[in-house]
Amino acid sequence: MAIVTPKRIYDGSRIPQPIPTVLVVDPDKHSLDDILTVNFGPNHPSTHGVLRLVVDLDGETVAGIHAVIGYLHTGFEKNMEAKTWWKSVTYAPRIDYVSFQANELLYVLAVEKLLEMPVPRRATWARMALTELNRIHSHLIWLGTSALELGAISLLWYTFDDRDSLLDLFEMAGGTRMHTRYFQVGGLAEDLPPEFTSETRKFCSAMLKSVDEYEAILDRNAIWLERTKDVGLLSADDALALAQSGPVLRASGVNWDLRKAMPYLAYDEVEFDVPVYSNGDVYDRYKVHMDEMRESVRIVRQCLDRLDAMENEPWITDDRKVVLPPRHELHTSMETLIHHFKLVTEGFTVPEGEAYVVIESPRGEAGCYLVSDGGTRPWRVRFRAPSFAALQATATVVQECLIADLIAIAGSLDPVMGDADR
């Protein structure tokens, strides 16, 4: 199948020149005397966090715009350089706090790449199940908040209700509702509890019904349709040039999903479809999110079947130089005690080298670049944040739109500011 669907969204490129992320007021189209510059954010409730947009308005029309970020910069990358490899695992999910499980997976996969460490298959399938559940979690938050911003308040309560049952599943597996630190270098921190698969199956059935209901609410809502269709256009070429990924890219007609194109974990062993829409507007981005939730349920169900078939298999590798030894051995084995002590005080070492690992997070291409000098702490950690890249497109997608649509469009790029600012 062709990667790019040839559909004309608009002619040529709309990326502003010379600065691709700053739209300057065009004096031919607008009288400069009429321009009112408005600071939109950083503390505006509908900017998905602390995003600041400096908007030049001509009446209600957006004539110029640029995004200002950095209000949530917390120095994760610097902090991780000062922590041991295994302590840094806790930082990764807090970067993108909505798709925490995906970021945790990303960092753990990158460390395992440097270690060239094989992971037991039960851990791989459990990771897949949890990251797909996390994708649903992320999309639910996106859907609820985006609909809320356009006045469909009721949807927020429905989606957060479903999100709550999702968080129950994460709590069952990892002990905490968010930022579980459940993925460990080498596998999982603990085995999945026996009731996990049956409870998740119940959730899956409920979730499919919920998605249908959400679509029924929104697809017959005239206001929702009016405000999302043909708004915030982005062509396939512009999306690629601006390094857009995930649902934004797929809504512009590009059939690109890393789970299919460059599979990791065991995505080449599951059946699922990649939803692609070709109008490149807010409505199509919404459709991609809805379809992806259904596909995620499909993947989760296949993972659960596999997990049921591999009960009692190891869930973490038996590499005592990297992985904490089993608790019960600590009381009887001197060697185990020494390993435990060394791992907890000094941490494990990672061979010298560098690696760049990328996964398809709910927001798209999320990458982690690690450099090790052979010691117990990372030399350099760098996260390629999909939200950071997504916000580069603001100046391209909002051209000549109305200020009210700005909220719908900025929301449709699905930025999480913790991810953008790190």
Partner: protein
């Protein structure tokens, strides 16, 4: 290996953990990027990652890496053998993570090695997405990009001094004001 031999200014091609790294001459970076985009189809700039190698190999030594998975316990750098890491060609390394979005997907890392205060040419004309990535590399690492139309800080406040991700940036160096000092 010979796939990228025709890239302008190529210094060497290495393969680490199944990932291809192409080191190019900093002076011919944009030329090399244009070639990779047009001839090899790398239409997507995934990331620009700058790394500071100040003090590389001075602190800490390579530890033990032998495991049950079959790694050699007695090779240099393994358990029991202290080893300092391989020296690097220069202080800063800027890695351009490229991706080919097509039916034949591929990733490639283009690296340039530069010294402190040595400028690089901006790749915005090749991939517009480089705009914020380069601003972040400037903000965090102090890499200067010539021809960049808007090279200002992006994550730190505009009046911030220093570049926080450099290895010589003081940790916990933010001054705290106490009332008795006024």
């Amino acid at each position: 290996m010979s796939t990228y031999a025709s890239v302008p200014g190529i210094v060497e091609t290495t393969e680490v953990h199944g990932q291809t790294i192409v080191a190019v001459d900093p002076a011919r970076l944009v030329e090399a990027c244009l070639h990779l985009r047009d001839e090899h189809g790398f239409n997507f700039l995934s990331d620009i990652a700058a790394t500071d190698y100040l003090g590389w190999g001075e602190v800490g030594v390579a530890g033990y890496v032998g495991t049950a998975g079959g790694r050699d316990l007695n090779a240099p750098g393994s358990q029991g053998y202290a080893r300092t890491p391989e020296p690097k060609p220069n202080r800063f390394c800027v890695s351009y993570q490229l991706l080919r979005v097509s039916e034949d997907p591929a990733r490639l890392r283009v690296q340039v090695w530069i010294d402190d205060d040595e400028p690089l040419e901006s790749v915005i004309p090749v991939w517009p997405a480089a705009d914020w990535f380069e601003r972040e590399a400037w903000d965090m690492m102090g890499i200067r990009f010539t021809e960049h139309p808007n090279l200002v800080r992006i994550l730190m406040p505009e009046d911030w001094e220093g570049h926080p991700l450099r290895k010589d940036y003081p940790l916990g160096g933010e001054p705290v004001r106490f009332s008795d000092a006024e």
